[in-house]
């Protein structure tokens, strides 16, 4: 009998092409997702060295980061140009590079276009037990279906394009077990915000985190993708959730998913991947689901999390002197005073979207709060950005778009949007945004922007009242 192994170790072992004497391994990459921002220099590198793409069949390209989310076609169905010259150049580069290197390409106006981490699982291109990379740090997202997925830089993008492999050091393993049932109004986003608050922004450095426990198993695939998406905010290279029947039901019949006898063989294999009884992790953190409230960030690190019922902490409440200094800086940037009740913080902007929270379930949760209500007068800008064209179509079929527009929110085209200040969707300097994205870094949503990370339901609640709000007061 072999030694009991964790999910991570099983996926890792199955992908080792070669092991170097120092323990570094050449790892085969099963899926490579490519977008317009981190790929132009990689393709330029291939051209310069006369290399080709080794496995175009395992590669999928889709633009998302800097596409504007305003209509992409005019009334006559003609594609509209992108005003920003640099964004247009990046998009044009991908449009040329994908066919030139024989890569599958979902173009900017295709019905399947969307955020790369929404598109991968939705198309069944991302599969359990595979290794997945993409030049975006939230690639960890695909861990929600049990894939070992992580973000890479442009040199690595070039390396994977050329060789379909990466040189990696095995990571340590960390288990974050969330046991019990979450209360009403508490979503997958609150779970991962709470986890990040507990373990800290560097808590998972050098580790791959496997999320386990009854509260994780109870999540839909959408919720699991949300949790794993933010593994990187806890410092981990990747997140993982063991694939189960919920995962298989989600993937079955998706365009690139295995079919027929292949499907059965795949399911049998995926089922065998779960962490063995008796396998050990290098680190384990146990969290009681009952302790998790609807959560919100107050600072400029995703570890700066408090329950919505909490207050802005005082810098000297932290033991670590460097954290005290960082907190003081954060508060100055965020324009917040210690002791302020989070629920008294006024919000001018609402962003519901990003690869963390733009799937159908997220939009349903936001719509449930907004139905029959209207955004507050103090909310100047509120947008809902579906994660993909397919999510958009589904939401429209369910009438969610009407709920949003009736409530005074804008309904946009799919893309990364205000998750990062790269496209026209930005939060003005000095203003606050209740945002369903994953990062509250300085300037992330535009220079001077102040981000409060929340769940879609909490963002909707903030839209209604014009301040950070405990969504439990608006649902019954």
């Amino acid at each position: 009998m072999t030694r009991p192994r964790t999910l991570y170790e099983k996926i890792w072992d199955a992908h080792v092409v070669e092991q170097r004497p120092d323990g570094t391994c050449l790892i085969f990459i099963d899926r490579h997702l490519v977008h317009e921002v981190t790929s132009p220099q990689a393709f330029a590198g291939l051209r310069a060295s006369g290399r080709t793409v080794r496995r175009p069949d395992l590669t999928l390209a889709v633009p998302d980061h800097n596409l504007p989310t305003t209509p992409r076609k005019d009334a006559a169905g003609q594609r509209l140009p992108i005003a920003d010259a640099e964004s247009a150049a990046q998009l044009a580069a991908l449009e040329t590079n994908a066919p030139a290197f024989g890569i599958r390409y979902i173009d900017a106006v295709a019905p399947e276009q969307g955020i790369v981490h929404v598109v991968g699982p939705e198309q069944g291109f991302s599969l359990p037990g595979t290794t997945i990379v993409c030049g975006d740090s939230h690639t960890a997202c695909h861990g929600g279906i049990g894939a070992l997925a992580f973000g890479i830089g442009t040199s690595e993008v070039e390396h994977v394009l050329a060789t379909q492999t990466l040189l990696l050091q095995p990571a340590k393993t960390m288990e974050v077990r969330v046991e019990g049932e979450v209360g009403p109004g508490v979503t997958a986003k609150d779970i991962i915000l709470h986890i990040t608050g507990v373990i800290g922004a560097a808590g998972g450095t050098g580790h791959v985190i496997e999320y386990t426990g009854s509260a994780i198993r109870a999540l839909s695939v959408e919720g699991r993708l949300t949790v794993s998406n933010m593994a990187i905010e806890g410092g981990a290279r990747a997140g993982l959730i063991a694939p189960d029947d919920v995962t298989f039901a989600y993937l079955k019949g998706r365009p690139y998913a295995p079919k027929g006898a292949d499907w059965d063989a795949a399911v049998a294999y995926w089922t065998s991947l779960a962490t063995d009884l008796g396998a050990t992790y290098d680190k384990t953190v146990v969290i009681d689901a009952a302790d998790i409230a609807p959560s919100v960030t107050w600072g400029t690190s995703p570890e700066d999390v408090v329950p919505i019922t909490g207050t802005v902490p005082a810098p000297d409440s932290f033991a670590d002197p460097s954290k005290q200094a960082a907190a003081a800086k954060s508060l100055a940037y965020m324009g917040l005073e210690p002791g302020t009740r989070m629920q008294d913080v006024a919000i001018e902007n609402i962003f519901i979207g990003s690869c963390t929270n733009s799937r159908i379930e997220d939009l349903r949760a936001a719509a449930a709060v907004l139905k029959g209500r209207h955004k507050a007068a103090g909310v100047k800008w509120a947008i809902v950005v579906p994660g993909s064209g397919l999510v958009k179509a589904q939401a429209e079929a369910e009438g969610l778009d009407r709920i949003f527009t009736d409530a005074g929110l804008e309904w946009r085209e799919p893309g990364c949007s205000a998750c990062l200040g790269m496209n026209p969707d930005k939060v003005p300097a000095g203003e606050r945004c209740a945002s369903t994205s994953n990062r509250n870094f300085v300037g992330r949503q535009g220079p001077g922007s102040r981000t409060h990370l929340v769940s879609p339901a909490m963002a909707a609640a903030a839209a209604v009242t014009g301040r950070l709000t405990d969504v439990r007061e608006l649902i019954d």
């Binding site: 050449l26 830089g153 690595e156 365009p255 960082a326 870094f441 300037g443 220079p447």
Partner: protein
Amino acid sequence: MAPIEKVEGRAIPFGLKNVDTDVIIPAKWLKTISREGLGRGAFETLRADPDNLFDNPEFAGAPILIAGDNFGCGSSREHAAWALGDLGIRVVIAPSYSDIFSGNAVKNGILPVVLPQTAIDRLMEVAATDPIHVDLDTQTVTTPFQDRFRFDIDPFRKMCLLNGLDEISLTEKSETAIAAHEKKMATDQPWLIPATP
């Protein structure tokens, strides 16, 4: 990629913790399709302050940057390494880095030295007035005041940096093993090849 063996010069005593890649190079600078010229955007937000270290003539052309814990956290953008390189930085010294950043640094010929906070505190002091010497071969950081700090580095990364080696050419030497893996995958797990929709 230029090899690194010894780097001597002024070190920017930056020292801040949890510096994310958005701070190193803001998102608006990512819209390039080439790798050069990003030094202009490096630390842009901090450089809005006229007293910032990066535009201080004292540290003009400094090849070393001293930083705090968890340097390069956040977004995986490799532009952070390009921006540092374009700024003339060859070595970063910090107590810890985000995994992605340290990988990107090495791939772009920047040496990420890990030293404990006590050593960082001392180097920050020295850097304010004097040069620092980094020797990759002997894995030491020294100062004109007899300070000597040894650092660890992954031997493969060390070899790549010392020789200025490009990783793709190295990997191409493993062609037989890669092809064997592909063959095994095609027979054992044919469903791994994406279905035709």
